[in-house]
Structures are given as structure tokens and as C-alpha cells.
Symmetry: C2
Subunit: 359 residues, 2 copies
């Protein structure tokens, strides 16, 4: 896939310009919407999906928020390209897997415009989403709301006066909103306070996942915190609540880091510099190891133990060391066993370019 | 201890100028000698040791080979200084431990002149030794023989027409010669052929030890190969035999390295560069870990995978990362728990100075 075709590559959030960017990588919001009078995804037939796509297409064309955007039909893309969109958090795992599987009639598509994205014929007819740098839920919602209302004017969105937006899965009904924050918590993991914190989340209606959303494992101490409930509260209330808790978790994380620095400075310094040394020099890296080492280096940058290395570069490494991204960079298959060597070479190239002084 | 007092620091062998220096670090020969009419060490009283010391002192003064040398009485040295001499392979573990233990009357001393050394009142009255860079047994023996014959003229050396030189332990009788070669065999260890090779040694009258001689463990794939028997053969025959076998072991090692490069190039490259990365950036290193990582880097330099790093620096790291050396460099105790941080800092300083291009 020619990545340059994707408006801003869907990677604006990498720039680490947002608030608390040393701990919070990104804020993401998605809204689930469905169209009245068309069978929902599980029961939809080819003609239904086709109709959804046609309607959405027309609405997207008319949307001011979506100006300058692009559309990709999943059926037109090979498996590596679909995985690439998934790694970029632009399409869900399900949508990436669905494309091309029904003989070119899945109707699955993704629309992209700046930080805005729209998945079509995924679990819901429409899933609008946006991804922002750092901790910026309100800002993210503002951008998404504009697209939502423009599409809502043009489309017969299924809305029930009592239940709110209707969705394929009842857990999404109501606001249809899922907000999540990708957060890096090495301090809480190292001080072993993380399980306490994660348990606390479920008591306040939040949940956590790994780097790739539902069902994905936590690697590199990267967690996605998100709202569990979508019903019975307004969008603003949901975002406000998540925001408060995230701020608290960030405070816990910062405390944990200070405790580590105070009680075990050599161990922490050693840990972060070993991670740096391995990333800078290894000739073969699995994705999981790379994530774990990046976690160590990120902690070191956050604690100002490692200087001259930008959070932007670390964010970039997080995305571009994924299999499909490496494969695209090097014109290989994402299953190529040589990818570990390619990954190590890519990491070295970026780190050498910044060449953190070895302090 | 002021290291500058030791003639050339006893470290001429570090320069890596000798033959096969990429695999053979050093060649070492020692000769055990005792004096007629004086009780041997195990039964010796203070007066005996005193007499040995006086006689040796006079003979050393007259020796041309020993010109410009220096004497250290072990009783005058603190435990750190004695350990330092031991780490420098200038005194045995026993002599390092013995000094100062009998209220200043151990009579234990070490004489040093260039690459020549002489321990007095160790297990034998005299132990002459020399250490040369790389694979140079003949050259080493030449230098030592001169000192031996000069001391032999001045001292009543215990010699039996049938048994040769008499020694405290019968396993040293005859020539009194123990020649050993410090050799780095990571290739044979990685290809798991090492045990076969080591078993073969005992069948040809040789034995192996770790970095610090008898009873010491093998760390960092550094082995000392030496002759087992000292009796029934001439010095030249013993050296010739050891030399032949060492050359064979070096050939096996080089084969093993080529096999690794051919069959697992990425694994080997990754291994040596990870070792480099950790040494270059770690903030805390145990001695054993440092040895193992230095072994990896040394293999990388030998295979020309790592450029711009001299074998001299690697040899220096091998010596100066030992506890007493670090302690002396930093005016600390060799038991200081902070030594791991000091070791890591020392390693970084030396590697940064050479700053191997990260290829």
C-alpha cells in the first residue's frame, strides 16, 4: 500500500504534542451508528452492505469535516495492506480480517480524513473514530462530533428515544461511544501496584485492554483504558469520568516513578539504559521484545535519564516496528521470518539518527 | 597500592601484540624451585622463610635479568592490594591470602621486573613466572630461563639427579614447569563441541582451568590450558607438546566460528551486538556478566563483525573490571556493593573512547 495515499498517514497523533504525552500516547473516540431499515451487520446480506456503502459514500462526499479525505475498500487490499491499516489503528481487527473474504462483496470500507476515520460495514454499519496525540478527549470529541452531526443529517441513523443509538451489540447502545486512552504505565508495573489500579478501574465502570484493543495482550506496559458503559449517561459525562480517572492513574504512575528513582535509582537507570543498548545494537528483534525495550527507553526519557531522544521517535518506533509496517517499508511479506532483522535495522536507523549522547 | 610502582604494571601482555592474539590472550610459564637445607613451605618456620627471603633477595639483586625490578612484601600490603596483585596474575591466590596473616612474618614476597615475576615463600620457596602476549611459549620460556639460570648460580637449588627439581608437591617435581595458555573459545562453546575438546586434552596429558587457575570456574569462555605432567620430559618437549595442542585447539575454534557465521549469521551478529550494546550502556555489571559480555564482543571483533574496537581494549577491560582493580581506580573497597556501578561506568568510558561505529 502506498502510505502516502492516506491523508497524513493517520499518524498525526504520533507527534507527541498533546498534553501528558510522556505518559499518555493517544486519546481515541469512536461512535457506533447504524442505519434504519437496513439489516444490521450479523444478518446483513451483500445487498444490505452495498446499500450502506452507497449511502455512506454520498454522505461522506457532502461532509465538510471529511473534506480532502480518501476511501479504501477492504476488498481491494491484500492481507498485508489490511493488517497495515489495523496496525495504524485505522481499522479494527475484524474489519482487517473481513475484507476480500466473501469474494469481493464484504462492502467493508474505511474513510480517512486527517485525524478522522470512518469504518463501514464493520460490526456496526458505521463506526466513526478519531485519534489524537496525548491526553485530549475533549478536543478529540469536538472533531468527531462535527462529522457525526453532518453524517446524521444525511443518513437515516437508527435512534431510539429511550435507548439512544441502536447498535449491533447491546453493550454499545445509548451513546454508541467508546473513548479510550493509550497509556504507558511502567512505574506501576515495576512497583507491582498495577493490579490494584486495574482492579480499581472496573469498580468505576472502566476497563483496560492491550495495545490492539479487545482481546489483545498487554505488551510493553502499554494499556488502553476505556469506558465500559455507553448507556444512561451523556457523552460529556462519559468523557469527563474517563478523563478524571485517567488523570488519577497518571498521578499514580508519576508517584510510582518517583518512588523507583528514590529507592532504586541504579536499578532503574541500569534497566532503561540496557533497553536502550539492546535497541541500539541488536540485530534481531521480535515485536514483543521491541515493545518491552521501547517501554524501558520511554521510561528513561520520561525520567530524564536518557536525553536527546524525542517521544515522537518513540511513538514512531511503536507503529513502524509492527509487521505490516516493516513489510511495507521493505517490500516484504508481513510473515517473512527476516522481519526480525528488518525490525532491528529500522530501530537502529532511527536511534542512530537521534544518537542520544551516552551520558 | 600505587600501580605505577609495579614495573610496566605487569601488564605488558595486554597489548595483544603476540601471535594469534584474537584467540590466545596470553602465554604463561612458571618454574617451581626450592632451596636445599631449608624446610619446604608446609613445614617451614618463620626463621626458614626469613632465610629464604634473604637468600633470594641477594640473588635477585645480582641478577641481570631482574634489573630495574621491584619487591613487594605481602605482609606490607592490605587485602585489596594483595587481591589486586592476584587479579593481575602476579601472585597466586594462596600467596595473596597468606600475606599479613602470621603477624608480619609470612616472609611472602613478590619480585617483579618487566614480564618476569618471582613469588617467594609460596607453596615452593621460589616460583619464577612470566606472562607474554598472545601465543608465545618459546619466547616466554627464553626470558624466564635466563632469570632461572642466574638465580640457580647464586642459590643452592634443590635438584635430584634422577627426579630433577624437587618441589613441595610431587606433581610439580622434575622440570618444575607449568606452562599455560589463556585461550578464548566461544565458538566451541556455542557449537557445543567444547566438552569433546576438553575431554581430548586429558588424553594428551593436558588440563584446563578457568581464568584464575586451579579451582577457578570458567567464565566468559576463557580457558587456561596447561601441561598436567612435569616429570620425565624436558622443558622443550613439554612446551612443544602444549604448543602443538594449542594450535590444534585454535584451529578447531576457528572452524567453529566459520560454521557459526555460515549457519547462523544473524544469530551470531545479534549475539555479539547485544553484548556490545549492554556493555556500552548498562549502569550496573557484575564481574561474571561483564566477562560473558566481553566474550561476546571479543567474538564479534574476531569475526570482524565489530570494527574499530581493539583487542588491547578488550584485554584491558578483562583486567581492570576485576574488583580490586576497580577499587584501586576509584579508591573504594573491593567489597563495596557500588562496585557494579563503578564497573559499568569504567566499561562505558573505555568503549565510548573507542566508539565503535554502530555499523
Amino acid at each position: 500500500m502506498d502510505l502516502t495515499l492516506i491523508p497524513d498517514g493517520g499518524l498525526a497523533w504520533l507527534d507527541a504534542s498533546g498534553p501528558l504525552a510522556h505518559v499518555v500516547l493517544s486519546s481515541r473516540i469512536r461512535l457506533a451508528r447504524n442505519l434504519e431499515g437496513i439489516r444490521f451487520a450479523v444478518r446483513a446480506r451483500d445487498a444490505d452492505r452495498r446499500r450502506v456503502l452507497d449511502l455512506v459514500d454520498a454522505a461522506w462526499q457532502r461532509s465538510a469535516a471529511a473534506r480532502g479525505g480518501a476511501r479504501f475498500l477492504l476488498d481491494d487490499l491484500g492481507p498485508d495492506d489490511r493488517q497495515l491499516l489495523h496496525e495504524r489503528h485505522l481499522v479494527s481487527k475484524e474489519l482487517a480480517a473481513a475484507g476480500g473474504e466473501r469474494g469481493g462483496s464484504s462492502g467493508a470500507a474505511v474513510y480517512l480524513a486527517g485525524s478522522l476515520g470512518l469504518m463501514v460495514n464493520e460490526e456496526d454499519h458505521l463506526r466513526l473514530q478519531t485519534l489524537h496525540s496525548g491526553f485530549g478527549l475533549t478536543q478529540a470529541y469536538g472533531a468527531l462530533e462535527r462529522l457525526d452531526s453532518e453524517l446524521g443529517v444525511a443518513l437515516p441513523v437508527a435512534f431510539h428515544p429511550e435507548f439512544g443509538y441502536l447498535t449491533a451489540c447491546p453493550t454499545n447502545a445509548g451513546t454508541g461511544l467508546r473513548a479510550s486512552v493509550l497509556i504507558h504505565l511502567p512505574g506501576l508495573v515495576l512497583t507491582k501496584e498495577i493490579s490494584k489500579v486495574l482492579q480499581g478501574l472496573s469498580q468505576v465502570g472502566l476497563t483496560f485492554r492491550g495495545l490492539y484493543g479487545e482481546g489483545s495482550e498487554v505488551v510493553g506496559n502499554f494499556f488502553q483504558l476505556s469506558n465500559q458503559t455507553t448507556l444512561g449517561k451523556s457523552e460529556e459525562e462519559l468523557l469527563d469520568h474517563l478523563g478524571k480517572i485517567v488523570r488519577q492513574v497518571v498521578a499514580y504512575e508519576e508517584q510510582a516513578r518517583q518512588v523507583l528513582l528514590r529507592d532504586a535509582p541504579t536499578i532503574i537507570e541500569d534497566k532503561v539504559w540496557r533497553a536502550y543498548g539492546l535497541l541500539r545494537h541488536a540485530r534481531s528483534l521480535s515485536f514483543d521484545e521491541a515493545m518491552n525495550l521501547l517501554s524501558g527507553v520511554r521510561l528513561g526519557v520520561g525520567l530524564k535519564l536518557i536525553a536527546g531522544l524525542s517521544v515522537y521517535t518513540l511513538n514512531k518506533l511503536l507503529i513502524f516496528t509492527q509487521p505490516a509496517h516493516l513489510a511495507a517499508l521493505e517490500v516484504r511479506s508481513a510473515n517473512d521470518p527476516e522481519l526480525r532483522a528488518t525490525r532491528a535495522a529500522y530501530v537502529r536507523r532511527l536511534l542512530d539518527a537521534e544518537a542520544a549522547p551516552p551520558a
